[in-house]
Structure formats: structure tokens, C-alpha cells
Assembly symmetry: C2
Homo-oligomer: 215 residues x 2
């Protein structure tokens, strides 16, 4: 009776490729299930590889998460910056341009958004710190647009404006984007462009529902 041959040894996949595969799979798992609920075994299985290899290439779970987050954060930040640099008065309006760029940046890795906005990160740790860093950068950009919006519609005397309104609006805006991305994930057939157009329709509809102007 032959002893079962060991499956160990190279499979001919160069390290750089493997690392890309792992990062991709891990990003998807982290985004879907959240940091805590993601098991390295699951990531490894998805790649068709063993847990151990992940550790050899990326170190402990924490570091793998960081390796996923960094490129995602950079990509998203760049997308938002590009949309805002076009100027506040261009068409389509800034919020829609931002969304369009976000969708484009997320195409092919839509779950990546939830790597950045993972609510289950252990509060004290490097992951939370790096995520906070990227979130702060995003919020800073959001604050620019937000202040602009509030100044257009706020009370004539700026001192009457509640200083927290800006923060709340930025937060709400971020949450809205999150919800749209989540919906998008549930409808994989929708392209980034189609999604942006859909948002344009929705915004138009929402505008009439929010204000006092509806008959």
C-alpha cells in the first residue's frame, strides 16, 4: 500500500502572482464578512492554497489586512480627489462626479469599500489606526464639499449655524455612498456607468421628496 504522495512543493506560480491572488481573495473576504468574521483558512481555500502560505507571504492576519487596506484606501482617495479637483461648478455636480469615480475605482472589487469601512475592526490595533487614517482623509475631502453646501443654504448669519452640522452631513453622505455600493454589490450585472446614471435619477427624485416644494 502506497503512502499518499505529499502535495507539497511548488505549483509553478511565481510569488508576485500568488500575492496578487491572495490580496484579491482576502480583500473580497474581508469586505464581505468583516475582519473578525474572516478566517484565513477561507481565504486560503479560495486561492487553492494553505493557510501557512498566507502567513509566509504576509505575516499575521493583521498584516494581511493592512496589505489589503493600503491599496484600497489609496485608490479610493485618488478617485475622490480627481472628482473634486474638477471644480465645484462643473456638470454633473460634484456629488455625482464623486460617486461615478468611486464606482469606477471599485469596478471588479466592489467589496473593497467595506474593507475601508469595516465596522468589526478590533478598536485597539494597527488595522483600526490605518483605517482611521484613510477615513480621516476621506472625511477631510467630504468636509470641503459639505461646508460649501451648508454655506449656500445656511442662515445668513453664519454664527447661527450649528458647527456639528457639517460633520453630520459628511457622515450622512459617506453612509449614503456606502448604501449605494452595497446595493451595487447585490446587482453585479450593473456597470459603473449605469450605476452612476441611476444615482442621478435617484438624486433628482430625492430632491423633490426632501424639500417643502412638493405639491
Amino acid at each position: 500500500m502506497a503512502i499518499p504522495p505529499s502535495r507539497a512543493g511548488t505549483k509553478g506560480v511565481p510569488r508576485a502572482d500568488r500575492e496578487r491572488q491572495i490580496l484579491s481573495a482576502a480583500t473580497e473576504e474581508f469586505g464581505r464578512r468583516g475582519y473578525e468574521a474572516t478566517s484565513l483558512a477561507a481565504v486560503a481555500a479560495r486561492v487553492g492554497v494553505t493557510k501557512t502560505l498566507l502567513h509566509q507571504y504576509f505575516g499575521p492576519k493583521q498584516d494581511l489586512y493592512l496589505a489589503c487596506l493600503a491599496p484600497v484606501g489609496d485608490r479610493l482617495l485618488a478617485a475622490i480627489r480627481a472628482a473634486m479637483d474638477a471644480g465645484g461648478d462643473a456638470r454633473p455636480p460634484t456629488p455625482l462626479r464623486v460617486l461615478h469615480n468611486l464606482f469606477t475605482a471599485l469596478e471588479g472589487q466592489r467589496e473593497a469599500w467595506f474593507v475601508l469601512y469595516d465596522t468589526s475592526l478590533p478598536p485597539d490595533g494597527e488595522p483600526a489606526r490605518l483605517a482611521a487614517h484613510y477615513r480621516a482623509a476621506v472625511d477631510e475631502l467630504a468636509a470641503i464639499g459639505t461646508l460649501d453646501v451648508l454655506h449656500r443654504t445656511g442662515p445668513a448669519d453664519a454664527r447661527e449655524a450649528d458647527p456639528l452640522d457639517a460633520d453630520a452631513l459628511a457622515h450622512a453622505w459617506r453612509g449614503l455612498a456606502t448604501a449605494l455600493v452595497r446595493w451595487w454589490i447585490k446587482h453585479p450585472e450593473e456597470s459603473a456607468d449605469a450605476m452612476a446614471r441611476r444615482c442621478e435619477r435617484l438624486f433628482a427624485a430625492a430632491r423633490s421628496a426632501l424639500g417643502p416644494g412638493s405639491p
Copy 2:
């Protein structure tokens, strides 16, 4: 040398009270960290009691979660229904009334919202099923308001309207509410009423930012 006295034995807290304490603590933990990341030991410690007692009163983790979710779901549903039953043309407009009722229902247990909208529920299991049930009920209500909004602003020929727009709008609306609740949690000093007023201001501001009417 005296053997350390056992701390076992009743502490004079009747079962019904303990159960309320446990439910309250568990709701908060589940809401904060998510189902997967919540440890029963942490809940027990918060109550000042042992893990075992949780099991004796509520059974396995799953059942404790269900015991938390059911009242939360009922409360939130009732709050939304009450807001929508007042009629679509009353002042303030329906979305703001819904938010106001939600904030009021969540006062004192703001994290409860995230028990219902927990993204880290194991996909196959009773928790996910019950949560899906409540979410579906909420979405059904949202769909009513949503369709109303879209019909007011959509193309004259209703056949041109994208049927998925309604679903996406409901989803976005829900996500917006989620973001507002999250912001509220980070600002504990803010009352439910103040929060509702804040939302009114924000909606007014957003309205001008979304549409093509801004100069």
C-alpha cells in the same frame, strides 16, 4: 489556611430583572461589535455575572441574539408604521417623521439599530433569517414611500422608469438612516428631538446640493 470561599449563590436579583439586564447588555454589545465579534464572556462581564448564567437563561448564543433582535425589530417597525400612518401630505414630510420616530424609539439603546442591521451574521442560520424577516418588513414600508417619490418625479410614461430604481432608492434611504444613527451614537449628548431637527436642516441643505438649481 482558609480555602477561598466560593462566590456562588444568589445575589438577590430576581430572574426577570437579570434577564432584562442581560438583554440590554447583549443588545449593546451585538450592536457595537457585531454578532461574530461579540463574546458571551464580554456580555456576562458587563452584567457582572458568569457566561454560564447567560446560557441558563437564554440558551446558546444564537438564541440570545434572537431574544435581543425580536423586541428591537418590533419596536422599530412600530415606530416606522406610526410615522407613515400619519399620511403622506402632513407636515413635517414623511421621511423626517420616520427619522424622528426612529430616534425616539432608539433613545437609550441607540446601538439596537445595528442589531437589526448586523452585517456579520452567519449567512445560514436562524439569526440571519429573523433579521431578514424584519428587514423585509422595513423595506416593504420603505417601498411605499419610495414609489410615491418616484412617481412624482419620474418620466410621464411610467413604463420608462427603471423598476430597480425603487429598490435602490429604498436601500439608499435605509443606508442614510443607518449613517445618521451611527453619527448619533458618536454624539451621546444629542437628544432625539435635537437630532430630528438637525436632520431637517441637513435635508434642506442637501436638497440644494443635489439638484441642478444651484447657481
